[in-house]
């Protein structure tokens, strides 16, 4: 397995008959993902993009042995959808849905934790392992298989950066878009050990944002346990304090959460800092060359 997904990943799409569910089912299939089932209550028996639709995840798992879920269900029903997936035995759920109340996410996260189920997201691009499988919505065009791991709190900025890597001939092992909501199922701290353990990843590009302390926590994890090189970029250095930038939720508290705090923590942990997205490919290439990998 490459970090979280590989060719054995069998995806059920919850909310497959919705517009985004349908569009991204097609995109996942084009990427090469094994999308085995979809669910929409009341629409069981139909097919979407050649994928059989079931009324419940339980049925989908029974009939297709799905082992990962991609959730497009609208925010008010997302909590229920995730619990349904867990109860049906799913242990990896990518939640694409945005605007899920964080109170719901708290109960989802802790329910999942009790049952051993991992959430990626919500409001996230998801997971893509080029040449293997994609669970989520990252555009297919940006990828190429390789040995660079990418982990990010952002959406489109991730696409931008992965696309830049590709243009410079730098392929990716796995790209993880964690989402930037106040409560995420998988944080940098949770994701880094997966890349550390992945024999197919040589270097990790970490893409952060101002707000919260996920990057500071990541720095601590890198310092303590992470042995591979890290190139980090933190967006929002020049954002005005006190204003929220979309869903970045720049709540800056006691000196933590600022770009300065994040950059100095990451630097202190041994990460190389890119000042702009377009600097990343060269830095990665140089570092890989030093490792003798390129």
């Amino acid at each position: 397995m490459t970090v979280l997904v590989d060719a054995d990943t069998r995806v059920v799409v919850q909310g497959i008959t919705g517009h985004q569910g349908t569009v991204h089912t097609r995109q996942m299939k084009l990427f090469g993902s094994n999308v085995v089932a979809g669910t929409t209550p009341g629409k069981g028996g139909s097919t979407v993009e050649g994928v059989p639709v079931f009324d419940s995840v339980e049925e989908a798992v029974d009939r297709t042995s799905a082992n990962a879920s991609c959730i497009f269900v609208p925010a008010p029903y997302a909590r229920d959808a995730f619990i349904e997936a867990v109860d049906a035995g799913i242990r990896l759920a990518v939640i694409v849905t945005e605007h899920i109340p964080f109170h719901d996410m708290l109960s989802m996260y802790h329910y999942g934790r009790e049952r051993g189920a991992r959430i990626i997201g919500p409001n996230c691009p998801g997971i893509a392992a080029p040449g293997k499988s994609k669970v989520g919505i990252i555009p297919n065009v940006v990828f190429r298989p390789g040995r660079v791991g990418v982990v990010s709190r952002s959406g489109t900025l991730t696409y931008e950066i992965v696309s830049g890597l590709k243009e410079h001939g730098l392929g990716q092992s796995t790209c993880l878009g964690l989402g930037g909501d106040p409560v995420v199922g998988t944080s940098f701290v949770d994701a880094l050990p997966l890349f550390e353990a992945d024999p197919e990843t040589d270097i990790v590009v970490l893409v952060g944002e101002i707000g919260g302390t996920a990057e500071e926590d990541a720095a601590e994890e890198i310092r303590r346990n992470f042995t591979k090189p890290v190139v980090a970029y933190v967006a929002g250095r020049s954002a005005p304090p006190g204003k929220r930038m979309g869903h970045a939720g720049a709540i800056i508290a006691r000196g933590r959460g600022t770009a300065e705090s994040k950059l100095s923590a990451l630097k202190g942990a041994g990460a190389e800092i890119a000042r702009f997205p377009y600097e990343i490919p060269d830095m990665v290439a140089t570092r890989l060359a030093r490792l003798g990998r390129r």
Binding site: F102, H103, I138, P139, L157, E209, S238, M245, A248, R254
Partner: protein, 383 residues
Amino acid sequence: MVKLAEWRGKEIFQKYGIPTPNGRVVRSAPEAGALLRNGGVPLPCVIKAQVLAGGRGKGGAVRFASAPEEAEAAASAILGLEFQGEKVRELLIEPKLALAKELYLSITLDRSRRLPVLIASSQGGVEIEAVAESALVRLPLHPFVGLVGYEKRKVVRALGLSGGPAKALDGLVDRLWAAFESEDAELVEINPLAVVGDGLVALDAKVIIEDDATFRHPQYAEIRDDRTPLEEIAREKGIAFVQLDGNIGVIANGAGLTMATLDVLAEFGGRPGIFLDLGGTDDPAKVTEAFLLMAKARPSAVFLNIFGGVTRCDTVAKGLVEAMKQVPPSERFPLVARIRGNNEAEGTAILREAGIPSVPDLKESVQAAVRAADGAAPGGGRP
């Protein structure tokens, strides 16, 4: 995020059984005088401006009065004030209580732990940011079990309480927790929480409700936030829109890309004036609306930076072309566009046809935008 005025926060506290002073809201000085003359609030009283901005106390917008006339005068003085652009339109009048002690108590979210956290301090009545970390207690609370005995005992110790107030705290934290949970709050803060006689009273209330949860609480969706009028219109249209001091308008999709764009603009000497995050959309009409909104803010130039994912490049291009037709001549602006990602070829073709080149390189496109803004009349449109 829906920030509630003090009096609304106190209404919520009352709903959950958290003691507050028995106050009333007035909207004019005569109304204040009449209220006090009728004994609606006993004297002496306190008159507090109901604004979301901080610094009320220092700004003279919290005053005491011991006679109706005095209160009327205070009310008319406060109603004229303005805080960070926010005019005082409402006053909360409450009886003045005899306090023995001012404490701090709040519940908010700890993102790293994915747990709500209760924060308590014996140093209440000041900005919590100004209180030393050593004078705070932070308790992560599990959403499935709430506050348990040992946690309450820790809070009592941290607040230095005993006797009646210690006993009162036991129920009060449960009620604050219930309010945080049931109202989908991001923050419930009591500062100060006052020891009054043998009990505790919430002298102030700061409650922030989560935007995303308003589907469960439609009553909060109606409440205005601390947004500018254009920001308010954008919010209604589901567009993230932030007004700043510069002259370049930035339209991007996704918070991360928007901020990265800003970082690059700043590097090349650009001064961003408006951020507009399209978010995820595949409706060209929404893109058109966003552009028209941007035009109303009169930027010197606009830089469009889109990486197509859920929002496809051709959708954006279509919306943009349509907007350019609708923008009145007086509001026109120079435009630099960069569109990449899903359906990039289609989008680029649509723009080219409309005479708008897409500059694929980020650095180059930003430099072009900065040049365009510098060349334009400040705050004005292209003739």
